[in-house]
């Protein structure tokens, strides 16, 4: 079991909860009071730090109550400790357990409140249990998707995607056709390897056999290199298809 919202690992300092010198006991007493009033009223306003600290304990209490039920000794002890007013133990098991049983998220929600002026300059917060009977804190959000700017932008986005798909199809087709034709031409010349000898002119026939063989091998090597480069280029094109689509000059 873990808390269902991002929380701080380190604790917050609550200064002077009951005046100076209260110590850790005063802090816990103060938090017990906050948790109790949260369970009582379901929405409270206090300083941000107090609300955030109490939130953790309240969430944990509800989680344990849901998991273990009201016939589990340690859980009842926990409830007895955190709820100073004992009638709230009944509320916890009879109201909140059924309410939050199937809740997949956190049970509480926090909002920032403006500073109180004139005052002590403390950050204020609002802590509430979800599903409370009070009116919502924030006004209903406006659905902006049908505003004219968003209608235009969504249409533009759709257009852009369609163009992208089209150019992708086009480019892969083009690659296929061109590479196949070039490859087949190159393969033909390789296959005609013996034909090269026939086209050798008379002056060349005068050359020594060694030189002729060397020249032949060089030509074969060149052809092989050409085929390899074509193959590689094809592979590369497949990889980069998504990135650049408009490069008409690459195969010329």
């Amino acid at each position: 079991m873990s808390l269902r919202y991002p929380y701080k690992m380190s604790y917050r300092k609550l200064r002077g909860t009951f005046g100076p010198g209260g110590g850790p006991l005063a802090r816990i007493t103060r938090l017990r009071m906050v948790v109790t009033s949260l369970i009582r009223h379901e929405r409270i306003e206090t300083t941000w730090n107090k609300a955030a600290e109490a939130r953790d304990y309240a969430e944990l209490l509800i989680q344990r109550a849901i998991k273990n039920g009201d016939k589990h000794g340690p859980t009842m002890e926990l409830a007895d400790f955190w709820l100073l007013e004992k009638d709230l133990i009944h509320k916890l098991f009879k109201v909140f357990v059924p309410r939050f049983e199937k809740c997949p998220t956190a049970f509480t929600k926090m909002y920032r409140l403006p500073y109180v002026y004139p005052g002590k300059g403390r950050e204020m917060g609002l802590l509430e249990l979800k599903g409370n009977p009070w009116p919502p804190v924030l006004p209903e959000a406006i659905d902006k998707s049908k505003h004219i700017n968003n209608v235009l932008l969504n249409a533009a986005r759709q257009d852009f995607r369609m163009e992208q798909y089209k150019s992708m199809d086009m480019s892969s087709d083009r690659w296929h056709k061109e590479s196949v034709s070039q490859m087949s031409a190159a393969m033909d010349t390789v296959a005609k390897g013996s034909g090269l000898e026939e086209t050798v002119t008379d002056t060349e026939s005068l050359l020594s056999d060694e030189i002729r063989e060397e020249k032949e091998a060089q030509e074969m090597r060149e052809l092989q290199r050409k085929i390899d480069s074509l193959k590689n280029r094809g592979k590369k094109k497949h990889r980069d298809e998504d990135d650049d689509d408009d490069d008409d000059g690459t195969y010329v």
Binding site: I142, L152, A155
Partner: protein
């Protein structure tokens, strides 16, 4: 701007603030003369229609929506939704694009005729479909105004028609006959023309509407050969053989409406492209495209430029002008537009 580029710019455009043109035309038609004539006819007809109302009757208007639901007792055939809004709250008069009378879109400046339920629609509602549609239509209307005003008097532009509005197409359209063969405006010229539209926001003209007879409409638009051809068909299709005419400032045009309330609702406005088109019935025309966003909707300059680039492309959704009036926009279009986002 250097002197040479300025003269190049003002070759065709009529920029009144900077350059004064003394084009006296004795024989040729000019846009300004035609506009004056139309305005005079419009004023006369409105006076006549007002004089027909001799006894003021009262109607009950139920307003629904913010700031509160209320009932108003208004004058039949005289009070408009704009008057109702002025009674309720000032912000309704400023932001409302169109009114919904018994859930049917209705112009803000069109008199109410019976007991009704009234709502106001603005551009930032949860579903501003009617406001967007009226805005797009009004922008086409304004495009017509710009095309009549922007050129010098020696160039007599004839407006043909504008197709039904479809916002996702990216641009609003007006098909027009420009008497300069093969003219493509430069970037600066497009900007100058767009500024005429953008400056309307400061003028705060209202869109008045009037239902007139076919004969009067023919007389009003006798100098426009495209409109004269269209008017009999339109009158046959409309209820009671009437033709609805709108006036904005001194510009008059035919439209089925509804259009928006005032020109102060115009925010960014740009004319993006001129495309040559050929219509089977009206011959060679020019399709002028533009882009605009209402002042109530904020848009980043980069985003607007991005959309303007898209608006430069030829608008394929807009049908070509033809003698038959294009079929009225069905409810399906609304459905389509509503579902548009979920299909992405």
């Amino acid at each position: 701007m250097s002197a040479t580029s300025f003269t190049k710019l003002t070759k065709h455009l009529h920029l009144r603030h900077i350059k004064r043109c003394y084009c006296s035309s004795t024989s040729k038609l000019t846009n300004s003369e035609v506009r004056e004539k139309r305005n005079a006819l419009f004023d006369e007809e409105r006076k006549r229609q007002l004089s027909l109302i001799t006894r003021i009757e009262k109607i009950r208007v139920e307003h629904i929506g913010p700031p509160e639901n209320c009932t108003l007792i208004m004058n039949k055939g005289l009070s408009t939704p704009f008057n109702c809004a002025a009674h309720i709250a000032e912000y309704l008069t400023v932001r409302s694009a169109v009114a919904l009378v018994n859930n049917q879109p209705w112009d803000m400046h069109r008199p109410l005729t019976e007991d009704c339920e009234l709502k106001f629609v603005h551009y930032r509602e949860n579903d501003p479909y009617h406001a967007n549609k009226a805005y797009w239509k009004s922008c086409s209307f304004i495009l017509g105004h710009i095309l009549e005003v922007a050129f010098q008097d020696q160039y007599y532009t004839e407006l043909c028609s504008f197709p039904p509005p479809y916002v996702p197409s990216g641009s609003f359209v007006y098909d027009v006959k420009i008497p300069i063969p093969n003219w493509q405006p430069s970037h600066e010229e497009l900007q100058c023309m767009g500024q005429i539209g953008a400056k309307l926001a400061g003028k705060d003209w209202k869109f008045e509407c009037l239902d007139i007879d076919e004969t009067l409409a023919l007389k009003m638009f006798e100098d426009n050969r495209f409109k004269t051809q269209q008017i009999p068909n339109m009158a046959a299709q409309n209820k009671g053989g009437k033709i609805r005419v709108y006036r904005m400032g001194d510009h008059l045009d035919i439209s089925n409406g509804p259009l928006i309330c005032r020109t102060s609702q115009i925010g960014r406005f740009a004319i993006t492209a001129f495309h040559p088109i050929s219509s089977p019935d009206f011959g060679e025309l020019t399709r002028v495209q533009g882009l605009s966003v209402p002042s109530q909707v904020l848009i980043n300059h980069w985003t607007f430029d991005f959309l303007a680039k898209r608006a430069e492309k030829y608008n394929e959704h807009a049908s070509l002008p033809a003698m038959r009036e294009p079929p009225p926009v069905k409810e399906e279009v609304q459905e389509e537009e509503k579902g548009y986002f979920w299909r992405l």
